[in-house]
């Protein structure tokens, strides 16, 4: 191939990418459900951005919900002072929901990024080198898949609480344990995905050509294999956001996650269990945090569902 042709070709690729992106956006416009999903996610991002204005923090750690107002035992109904009312210990639900959104995004980001980095590294190694390393890694993922995930995470969270970590992610041992637990159970999925992609790409001509021209393993991995395998993983991982936040909320609900007055939706629901025996009388204690969790997951799942169809080459042009 002459250098002129090469230049021509490389100039052409971005055009193609733009075209595909436009097509994707057009497809998205045609599916109203994905637009609802997108608007929900944007809505939650806006809440994050406006959190300091909507609910100005009172304490040094903004994730600790201030428990202001009268110190009665019963939750107070929604009022001008407490938009969503209060829950156990007079903690403000509105504050918890708003800062809980940031907390949810933060949890999701930390967990997704860590699991993807681990998954990428191990998947690349397993797929590229194959052999015994691949065999061991894959058998290990098999074992993790043999457990129902929430149950294994629960065991890990309990065990991790005894471990003194050299670092802290949130400042709370229990919350850190939850994050690490979810990552430890979550990476095998990404590892398998990336391994499959690497196996597919490995035999492509351009990799063979790079090998023949004497490129080092590292160069081949980072220059040729990684750029061609990373996208499906990133997409799948970002769409797992809703599931991850739901999992974290479930842990908090079980009393294993966030501490008592932490701005965490699951934690607020955990508190509402104290008041559910009075029937619908304290409806606000579970309705508002519940709506936040549900709409958040709904947004991501709608988006994910649409993207899976749009990006699936089998259905894309149908």
């Amino acid at each position: 191939m002459s250098s002129k042709e090469e230049v021509k070709k490389s100039a052409k690729t971005p055009n193609l990418m733009v075209k595909e992106l436009k097509f994707t956006l057009k497809k998205m416009r045609d599916t109203p459900l994905s637009l609802i999903g997108l608007s929900l996610v944007i809505f939650f991002l806006l809440i994050c951005a406006l959190a300091p204005v909507l609910a100005p923090p009172k304490w040094y750690d903004p994730f600790r919900i201030p428990s202001t107002g009268t110190y009665g035992r019963e939750p107070e109904p929604p009022s001008a002072e407490h938009l969503f009312g209060t829950t156990s210990y007079q903690t403000d639900i509105f504050y918890g929901c708003i800062w809980g959104t940031i907390h949810a995004f933060r949890l999701g980001l930390v967990i997704v990024i860590t699991s993807v980095v681990v998954g990428l590294a191990l998947g690349l190694i397993a797929g590229y080198y194959g052999g015994i390393v691949d065999e061991i890694l894959m058998r290990f993922t098999d074992i993790i898949f043999a457990f129902p995930s929430l149950i294994l995470i629960m065991a890990l969270v309990v065990a991790l609480q005894t471990v003194t970590l050299p670092f802290t992610l949130t400042g709370y041992t229990r919350l850190d344990a939850c994050i690490i637990g979810i990552v430890l159970v979550g990476w095998p999925g990404y590892t398998r995905l990336i391994r499959g992609e690497v196996l597919r790409v490995k035999t492509e001509d351009y990799v063979e050509a790079a090998k023949a021209s004497g490129a080092s393993d590292l160069r081949i991995i980072f220059k040729h294999i990684l750029p061609n395998t990373i996208y499906p993983v990133i997409i799948v991982a970002s769409l797992d956001f809703g599931t991850i936040v739901l999992l974290a909320a479930a842990l908090s609900f079980l009393g294993l996650g966030a501490p008592g007055d932490y701005a965490d939706w699951g934690q607020l629901i955990y508190h509402s269990m104290d008041w559910v025996s009075s029937g619908l009388r304290y409806w606000w204690t579970y309705t508002f945090p519940g709506l936040f969790i549900m709409l958040f997951c709904l947004g991501w799942n709608l988006l994910g569902d649409a993207f899976r169809d749009i990006l699936d080459p089998l259905y894309r042009r149908k």
Binding site: T162, A250, V276, G279, C297
Partner: protein
């Protein structure tokens, strides 16, 4: 390969998987300091007073592989440790709670499976029409709605507000325990649905059924989402096959083609999902059981986890993995029986 050989091979493959499960749980335990994980070797409450002795006796300060051999031996002997929280051997507690989980899991799974298959098929047949949209919305809401939230709302309305039923397994557990003590009620199987009938107590039977309804609603709503999805996509694939066109061309009715030709073939992946579903549910429904204060294995472990009961959570994780793996095995064997291509592959 014959069916028998296939089953034998599959059973042999079970050994490394089980060993892997034990290794992983052992690894989790290794994270915990020796004095705290010593409880997994305790067999009676007296030993709790003498933890340093346990550490010495079971070599918890010795090299890892030696500890693993000790652990494996204990597990193979059925000793899964002693629960500090419940004051009883873990295995005893798990087995005692297991019937409740089995009852709710086995009773709700047919509903989940048949509802899922029905809605999935209807959605695929009426693609992009109202039933399809309904199934889509239902499955997305089903995956987005946390089961604890649905449970709480149901409790608030039906238990606390309307007082139609209570949480738990029966309305008055105290009376039942007293009757067991008096000998006026015999526990034959631990399954309340069966035992109540064997004791001739029809009122108790009705009470037990009433307590199963709300958790079952939660499970059907949340768990059938995946079922609907899988059936729908599998049905869509089957409906596009040439043999369907051929069957229609040869003059068979639409109904016959859909339910006989397409659905039978489409159900194969659905069987896998059903197996995983039942296996997962039998392993415990941590959240549903906790919300409804239902005394199954899931809530047993969740409660213990809150007070850092290492032996319960690790033994429970192993327990649920074993059930999950066994359910998988049964599905694989069923598969090989239904679809001979798998045995040959």
């Amino acid at each position: 390969m014959g069916l028998r050989e296939y089953i034998i091979r599959r059973l042999l493959l079970l050994i490394p998987t089980m060993l892997g499960v034990v290794v992983l749980i052992f690894a989790v335990l290794q994270m915990i300091p020796p004095e705290l994980r010593a409880v997994i070797y305790v067999t009676n409450p007296r030993q709790l007073q003498d933890i340093p002795n346990i550490v010495r006796e079971y070599g918890l300060d010795r090299p890892v592989w030696e500890q693993f051999i000790t652990y494996l031996t204990e597990v193979l002997h059925g000793n899964f440790g002693y629960s500090v929280y419940y004051r009883q051997p873990v295995l005893e507690g798990l087995l005692r709670r297991f019937p409740a989980t089995v009852e709710i899991a086995l009773l709700s799974s047919p509903f989940i499976i048949f509802f899922g298959i029905w809605l999935g098929t209807t959605a695929a047949v009426h693609r992009d029409k109202i039933p399809d949209h309904v199934s889509r919305v239902m499955s997305i809401v089903g995956t987005s709605l946390p089961s604890f939230l649905l449970g709480i709302v149901l409790i608030a309305i039906f238990v606390a507000q309307l007082r139609l039923t209570t949480v738990g397994r029966v309305t008055n557990i105290g009376t039942l325990l007293l009757r067991i003590k008096n000998g006026t009620y015999h526990e034959f199987t631990g399954f309340l649905l069966i035992d109540s009938l064997l004791n001739g107590d029809f009122l108790l039977f009705v009470d037990v059924v009433k307590h199963l309804i709300l958790p079952m609603i939660v499970l059907v709503f949340i768990q059938s989402a995946t079922m609907v999805r899988v059936t729908r996509s599998s049905m869509l694939e089957a409906l596009g096959k040439t043999y369907i066109v051929a069957a229609r061309a040869k003059g068979l009715s639409k109904k016959e083609v859909i339910y006989k030709h397409a659905r039978r073939n489409a159900l194969i992946p659905v069987i896998t999902i059903s197996g995983l579903l039942v296996g997962g549910m039998l392993g415990g429904l941590i959240i549903t059981e906790t919300v409804f204060n239902f005394p199954g294995v899931g809530s047993y472990a969740a409660q213990a986890a809150q007070s850092f009961d290492v032996s319960v959570v690790t033994a429970y994780a192993m327990f649920s993995a074993i059930i999950f793996v066994l359910a998988n095995l049964i599905v694989d064997i069923l598969y090989a029986y239904i679809d001979p291509r798998i045995r040959l592959g």
